[in-house]
Structures are given as C-alpha cells and as structure tokens.
C-alpha cells in the first residue's frame, strides 16, 4: 500500500489503481467467504454441505430448509420476539437519547461535564459485569423471562453510545437556526421538533440502525434473563437449535441466514448514515 503510493510517482496512476483495487477486492473475497459459505450451506440439497470437494453448483440450490423454518411456529415466535425487542429498544434509546443529546449539546449545566464523563464510562461497561444482579433483580421485579425486561436492560447498554453519537450530530448543527425560530415565537420544544430533528435525521437514522443491529444481535442478556421461547429472541433460538441438531448443517445455516437477512437489508439501506455517524464521532 505504501509502495503503491511510490509507484504513483514513478510509474503512473494506472499501476497504483490496479494495486489498490486488486488488493481491496482480494481482501473482500477472503473476508466474505464465511458469509457466502453460510448462504450456500443454507441452500444445498441435503448431505452436500460437508463433501470433498465442496459443492458450489448454483442449479442445485433449494429454499426447502428456509421455507420449513419459516413455517415452523417456534421459529416464527423467536422472530417476532426479536422484532419486538429490537424495535422497542430502538424507540426508547432514540427518544431518551435525543432529549439527552439536546440537553448536553445546547445547555450549560452544573455537573454536565461529570454526567457526560459518567456516560462515557457507562459506554464501556461490559454487559457481563451486570448479569449477576440483573438475574436476581429480574426475578424480584417479576421481569424474568419477559420481553419487557430484555427491552429495559438492552436500552441501558445501547443508550450511552446513542447519546454520544447524537450529541456529535447536534454539536455540528448551528444554534442560530433555533435562535431564529425562537425569536419568531416558537417554544423550545417546537424549535426542537421543527428545526433540529429534521436537520438531525441522518444522525437519527445512523444511530437508530446502530441501535437496532445491537439489540437484534444481543445474546448474553437474553441468555441471562429468559428461559422459555415465549420471550427468547432469535439469537437464543439459533444457539438452542445448534445444540439440538448439531449435524443438520443445512437447517442451522438456513436459520442463521434468516436471522441475518433483516440486518443485511437494513445495513444496505442505511449504510451511508451509519458510516457517517461513526466517522464523525471519531473525528471529534
């Protein structure tokens, strides 16, 4: 890569371009192999997954395994749970996050800096250090094995990064716009609603995508706080399925693919804003 830049001077633009594009493409191919392999295994006719040499013939593909999983009520239940948990978590963290980010970005408060540092510290708090009290408290509060319990604790771990990302966005929006609106007779809440939120939409979308992916993929809290398929999300379903049908790689990979499809769709749609949010957060 460094040599490539030298080539640009000595041998011109073309060699540099070929070098950069080839190296990136090769990396991408190596990096995406596990994903392609998962999807391939999910659609192979039975027993073809673990054969020498590996089968890649596209005319043989079948949707049988994915279809039978979608028809299975147990797995539909996991899917519904994951959706409810991820969407509710997303709503909570965006609402609380927007308000807090606005407060930190636009007001000078006594103790504001301490609170921000505290949120920074919470951002880095590993989930595993709280599973013991959560397990106990969820039993005491009657939230064990409920989706509500999972939504609350998921939110606690996602909210700090949301506040941080959203604050970064709001800091970048000039205050003058709100001042103007408030001089024109808007209340502060109206100014927030009509001026700031529309301007912060890319930030909200990026942060929201981040929060959704996080909540959808959460595993440790779910394994700690749930016990039955009534409240368990897909990640637990996946682990349970793997434990139960160790040899049925077609179905395991089919379920794994189904679990990942919503994420891949969301990511393709919102990638730009997620990347924007993460890079602007870094520059600060």
């Amino acid at each position: 890569m460094k040599r490539a830049s030298d080539f640009r001077f000595k041998h011109g633009y073309l060699i540099h371009q070929i070098f950069v594009v080839t190296l990136t493409t090769l990396s991408a191919i190596v990096i995406l192999t596990p994903v392609v392999w998962m999807i391939n295994a999910a659609m192979r006719p039975i027993k073809e997954v673990l054969t020498y040499p590996p089968q890649l013939d596209p005319s043989q593909l079948t949707f049988e395994y994915m279809a039978s999983l979608i028809e299975n009520e147990l797995y539909r239940g996991y899917f519904v749970n994951s959706s409810i948990i991820a969407l509710s978590t997303l709503t909570i963290v965006i609402v609380l996050g927007l308000l807090a980010a606005y407060g930190f970005s636009r007001f000078k408060m006594a103790g504001g800096r301490i609170m921000l540092l505290g949120i920074m510290a919470l951002l880095m708090l590993p989930t595993v250090t709280l599973i013991v009290p959560y397990f106990r408290l969820a039993h005491l509060a009657g939230l064990y094995d409920t989706r509500l319990g999972l939504i609350i604790v998921n939110s606690a771990f996602i909210l700090p990064i949301c506040i941080w990302l959203l604050k970064g966005y709001m800091d970048a929006i000039p205050v003058d716009l709100e001042e103007a609106a408030m001089i024109d007779g808007c209340t502060r809440l109206q100014a927030l609603q009509k001026i700031l939120v529309p301007l912060a939409v890319p930030g909200i979308v990026g942060t929201g995508t981040f929060a959704f992916i996080f909540a959808w993929n959460e595993f440790l809290l779910a394994v700690t706080l749930t016990d039955t398929p009534d409240a368990q999300p897909l990640t637990i379903g996946l682990a349970a399925f793997f434990g139960q049908f160790v040899r049925d790689w077609n179905s395991i990979m089919a379920l794994s693919t189904i679990t990942s499809i919503p994420l891949m769709i969301i990511f393709v749609l919102f990638q730009r804003w997620v990347v924007q949010g993460m890079t602007s957060g870094a520059v600060k």
Partner: protein, 328 residues
C-alpha cells in the same frame, strides 16, 4: 416548558451577554450553547440520567453487595470477603485471567492492524467513488452479523470436513484434518481469528474517519520535503491518528474482555478450559453453576480492573481536551 413565558424580544439581549461570558470561560472551538434558561437542560438530560441510575448504577452497586453475600442457600447470609479469599486461591480464575490476556492482546493488535490496513486502502485515491463505497460496504459486512451467526459460520468453516480442512487436506494433500476448535493450543487462535473477522470493521471505519480528517496540506508539505510513502505514514499519519488510536484501543480492550457469546458459541471455554476467559468464567459460575455470590465477586474484580483502565483513558481524554485535541 417555562420558555413559553419568556418574551421573545428579551431573549436575544440576555443571550448575547451569556454567550460572551461563556466564550471566554470555555475558550474557542466549543459548540455554542443556547443561552436561555440554563437550568432547563436538566429537563432534557433528566430522563436518561434517571434511567441510568435505576438500570445501570443501582445494579452495579448490587454486584458489589452480592459479592459479599452467599445467596444460593435461599436465605442470603453475609460472608464478607470469603469469596475474594477463595478467588485468590482459585487456579481456574488465574487460568481465565491468563487466557483473557492472550485473547485481548492478540485481538486488539489484529483488529487495529487489519482496520488500519484496509482503511488506508479505502482512503487512497480511487478512480471510481461508487466502487470504493461498494467495497467499503462489503468490508463492513462482518460487523453486521450477530455473534451467534458468526460463531456458527466459522464452526462450519472449521469443521473437520469444512472448507478450511478441504484446503488443508484436499488441496495441500495433508494426512489428517486440523481440529481448529478442539486442540488446546489452537482453539484460542481460532477464537481470536473469528473475533478479528467480526470486529475489525468497526475500527476500520473509525480509522478511516480519522484518516479523512488529516489535512491534505500536511502530506503535500511532506512530499515537497521528499518524504517517501513509508515516512509519510510514520511521521504524518500515525501521529495525527494518535488520539483516535488511543481511544479505540481502550474501547477495544474493554469490549474484548467482556466477550461471552463468542466463546459460548465456538468452544464453551474448552478444550481443557483453554479458551475460558474471565467473562466466560463469570457466566459459567454464576448462571450455569448457580453460584451467584462467587460470580459477583469475579465481576467486581473485573470492574475494578476495568475502572482503572477507564479512568486512565478519561484522563488522557481530558488532557487532550485541554490541548485542543478533542472537543469532548
């Protein structure tokens, strides 16, 4: 809100005064803050802070309290520091501590070097921006998958009849397949490989953001002075990225130390407990063996170690703030 009572005409006048005062107090480069009714900020941050108090801070204190109590007997009884005394003599705790050290150091080095390499490639001049953005999307993709899915993908690749062993046995003509996840020495390396694959995109994107923020003039000046690509990387890129690299290595250390799900999916701590990290040990003692008090003691110890790291990091961050490195 109380603002509704404020006369719109009076607001800008008081605003200007506070603004000037604030400027001199906090120095340049700060975002301007709305001047009216400074106290109202608490209405906005209040809900989030209350939420944290109940759902994060209170359980955090409970962790410490539970580590001093034996709860599995049904009736909680105070046992003082007995759990900690046992902990010091517990060879499996020391085993998990040495495992997490290997796991974290190798993961962090690999995340950052891989993220750096790919970010540098993406930051080069591309003849086609769409292609570059497409490649960036593909390279981020592993980050999107859940640890559960990634664990299963790699278990299939690592399988004695999987793709990697097909290459090893089928293409390289070796005798026996490699037991990636079942050989004590190799299992940790296999887990680190999956963790690297899963997490490098996050660091790649942050480094890319940092690279894009380095002013082009510095590179131009370095070129004029005759610095080659390697020297430019070493004397311009790395020093400019320093604050970001400090930040992401701290965040990465803490995230990696906390991984349970990855190990749960791939090895369950085995073989011979060679991939059992402190985090997995907490999960195992507290949830699988039902020894909540002991699990809480390990958690508290982990919290103390991480708190030291976090405080050091926040120190660096505040110093950077004074020096104008970050605007946090």
């Amino acid at each position: 809100m109380r603002d509704e009572g404020t006369s719109p005409a009076a607001a800008p006048a008081t605003g200007q005064e506070t603004m000037i005062g604030e400027r001199t107090a906090t120095g340049p480069g700060r975002p301007r803050r709305l001047p009216w009714r400074q106290m109202n900020g608490y209405y906005f941050v209040g809900p989030a802070i209350l939420f944290f108090l109940f759902v994060s801070i209170f359980p955090l204190l409970r962790t410490i309290q539970m580590s001093l109590v034996d709860v599995e007997a049904g009736v909680p009884s105070f046992v003082g520091i007995r759990h900690y005394a046992n902990l010091v003599q517990d060879p499996w705790f020391w085993n998990s501590l040495s495992n997490v050290l290997t796991f974290t150091v190798s993961s962090v080095i690999l995340h950052i070097s891989m993220g750096m390499g790919l970010a540098l490639l993406l930051n080069e001049e591309w003849f086609n921006t769409t292609l570059r953005n497409f490649m960036r999307g593909l390279l981020i993709l592993p980050w999107v998958f859940s640890t559960a899915s990634s664990g299963l993908m790699w278990t299939l690749l690592y399988h004695p009849f999987g793709l990697l062993n097909y290459m090893w046995v089928g293409l390289l003509g070796q005798e026996a397949p490699i037991e990636f996840l079942a050989k004590p020495g190799l299992a940790m390396a296999s887990v680190v490989a999956v963790n690297t694959w899963k997490s490098y995109p996050f660091y790649m994107i942050i480094i890319l953001g940092g690279l894009q923020a380095i002013p082009a003039e510095i590179y131009e000046a370095a070129k004029v002075d005759g610095a080659n690509a390697w020297k430019r990387f070493w004397h311009v890129t790395l020093p400019q990225l320093r604050p970001i690299l400090i930040a992401i290595s701290t965040i990465d250390i803490i995230t990696t130390v906390g991984h349970v799900d990855l190990i749960r999916m791939l090895t369950r701590g085995g073989p011979l407990r060679s991939t059992e990290t402190v985090a997995y040990y907490i999960y195992k003692t507290a949830l699988l063996d039902g020894n909540l008090g002991y699990g809480a003691a390990v958690s508290t110890l982990m919290l103390i170690m991480l708190a030291i790291l976090i405080i050091l990091y926040l120190r660096v961050l505040s110093q950077g703030d004074e020096a104008g490195e970050t605007s946090f």
